[in-house]
């Protein structure tokens, strides 16, 4: 009898140790990633100067020239375009669903937004090629009096905007729902209209949270690969307008995995690109999560 109790207690304390170990290891994966990518990126960092890598537009791996500027600019253009398109829609939808919509619409819309988040990025890419690319080249570009093949920054931005919409909306709804109802009631009791309450109370109180939501969407857009790669054109020049092709960093990495081992320093350059992506996304995420954790603490 005592023997058995001992075994049960031993199992329990073994489980405690194992689960603790796994939790610690999982927490350290991010650092492992940084370290692994840094080790592989070091060869190119050792022979090229910082400005040569990040401020040169000359990308000729065969000649040993690795200027990342076109790709960095491509990433910024696409991400910027997606934010401009997505943020108004996401915020309006989030306000509607959390403040105005009747219950049945809310219950119906949430799973649909989740579904939008669950669609694989390659499917977004296929859809972009089928619908957005022709739409941009046949309607939007002529409307603005220019020509575009459709495989351009704007197409990438539109597809990305749809992909980051669920992220921004979801986080914003959570932020709004963490604002206590009493504050709204107080505003309404002072004679404010519903919209004034939303504008002056909910949006004001929720501002840090909204910022966090947008930053999370931004970092998702920053690293998105397949869907953008399929519609953005992939030409390694600094784009001058949204109707020109671009070549974002993630697309660069994904497109050249095949050749990178046969050209000296090529693999190192691509790992450096991945390291840069990871660093930027980490900074964005850490800032956003800090804000959200703080908000959660406050509301508890």
């Amino acid at each position: 009898m005592k023997e058995r109790l001992n075994i049960r207690l031993k199992k329990n304390s073994a489980a405690k140790k194992i689960t603790l170990l796994l939790a610690v290891v999982a927490s350290l994966i991010v650092f492992l990633m940084l370290f692994g990518l840094f080790v592989r990126a070091r060869p190119i960092l050792a022979v090229k100067s910082f400005s040569e890598l990040f401020f040169s537009t000359s990308w000729h791996p065969l000649r040993g020239e690795f200027g990342f500027l076109p790709f960095i600019m491509g990433t910024l253009w696409v991400t910027g375009a997606s934010l401009i398109l997505s943020v108004p829609f996401s915020l309006l939808t989030a306000i509607y669903l959390s403040e105005y919509a009747p219950r049945f619409i809310r219950d119906a819309a949430k799973p649909l937004i989740d579904l939008l988040a669950g669609i694989p990025s390659v499917v977004y890419g296929v859809w972009g090629v089928l619908i957005i690319v022709p739409f941009v080249s046949q309607y939007l570009a002529p409307l603005f009096g220019t020509f575009s093949s459709g495989y351009c920054i704007l197409s990438g931005g539109i597809v990305l905007a749809i992909m980051i919409f669920p992220v921004i909306t979801h986080v914003s709804i959570e932020v709004f729902s963490s604002i206590p109802y009493e504050i709204r009631e107080a505003a309404l009791a002072l004679g404010a209209t519903k919209w004034q309450t939303v504008k002056k109370v909910v949006l004001k109180k929720g501002r840090p949270g909204i910022m966090a939501a947008v930053v999370l969407g931004l970092s998702r857009a920053f690293g998105e690969t397949m869907a953008v790669l399929m519609v953005v054109g992939n030409v390694a020049v600094v784009p001058k307008s949204a109707f020109e092709a671009g070549y974002p960093l993630p697309a660069l990495i994904a497109n050249n995995y095949g050749e990178m081992m046969s050209v000296p320093l090529y693999d190192s350059a691509l790992m450096l690109a991945a390291l840069v992506l990871l660093l930027v996304v980490l900074i964005f995420n850490i800032v956003a999560r800090f804000i959200l954790v703080k908000l959660e603490r406050k509301s508890e």
Partner: protein
């Protein structure tokens, strides 16, 4: 009407409009893919592997990619589950709710969630060089499991967190250890929620392309061992769409239809499970 009212009404219309737009876009995406893909979907596509000249428009199917994706996503989901469940049990049973280590682990998992899948792929590549592994099913499973880990463990954590303290205490008072309480009471109570988390992670795993480019490789054959490369549906779609032949592009649409239907089934199943779960709720 005064100005305040007009402003409110304009915004109300805008809000309803944007919500509606998004739902229409969702319908448009699913509708377009199925409408373009369904005509090209045939029995030979899902029962054959690519034959010679397949990418030029000749005979064959995408069975290699379907099986490859199922192997890959199942293996990765299983592996992710074996890591996630203990982590979640640790977070909710062996440490206080707001202990420093629990906060840090949750924070790290949230950060990991935000890491783009192409970075997972690149990291997988460095890892494979380090341990001397070639592009293979095994390497793909490892990296996709890593990708699924934060999604699955945070989703599980959300449900297990909701288990009332009294339920655990009732179990302790009967003399159960924490481990026994975790496995026989908490996990059982949350089973539908846990299954939902697993399903969501599986859906993410089967749809991801950027992380498997480097790690799982691509092949026209169905892998027979963990050390062989494996084709995956998303990459199959990508490669087929990249060819200049309309017949082959049509097959890319058909393959997308298969992927979308899979995702719809997963999403529906998890909805049903969530409903079930709320019925069990204490």
């Amino acid at each position: 009407m005064n100005k305040k009212k007009i402003e409110e009404n304009i915004f109300k219309i805008l809000m309803a409009f944007s919500t509606l737009t998004v739902i229409i876009i969702l319908a448009l995406i699913i509708g377009t893919i199925i409408w373009k893909g369904l005509p090209s979907l045939s029995l030979s596509m899902v029962t054959q592997v690519p034959k010679g000249g397949y990418y030029l428009g000749k005979e064959g199917g995408i069975l290699n990619a379907i099986i490859g994706s199922l192997y890959l996503a199942s293996g990765a989901t299983l592996l992710a589950m074996l890591i996630s469940l203990p982590i979640v049990i640790f977070l909710n049973m062996y440490t206080r709710k707001n202990s420093r280590i629990a906060t840090f682990t949750r924070f790290s998992l949230d950060i990991l969630w935000g890491v783009p899948s192409i970075v997972y792929g690149a990291f997988g590549f460095t890892l494979m060089i380090f341990i001397g592994l070639k592009a293979s099913l095994l390497a793909g499973i490892m990296i996709v499991a890593l990708l699924e880990l934060p999604i699955m463990s945070r989703a599980m954590d959300e449900v297990i967190r909701m288990v009332p303290e009294e339920l655990k205490e009732a179990s302790y008072s009967l003399g159960a250890t924490k481990l026994e309480t975790a496995l026989k009471v908490v996990v059982r109570q949350c089973l539908p929620g846990i299954l939902t988390a697993i399903l969501i992670a599986f859906g993410r795993g089967i749809g991801d392309a950027a992380s498997v480019i480097f790690t799982a490789g691509f092949t026209d054959r169905i892998p027979t061992s963990l050390l062989q490369p494996a084709a995956t549906l998303p990459l199959m779609i990508f490669f087929q769409l990249g060819t200049p032949f309309p017949e082959v592009q049509n097959r890319a649409y058909a393959a997308s239809t298969i992927l979308v239907i899979l995702i719809l089934i997963i999403s529906l199943l998890s909805r049903i499970l969530i409903k079930r779960y709320s019925r069990h709720k204490l």
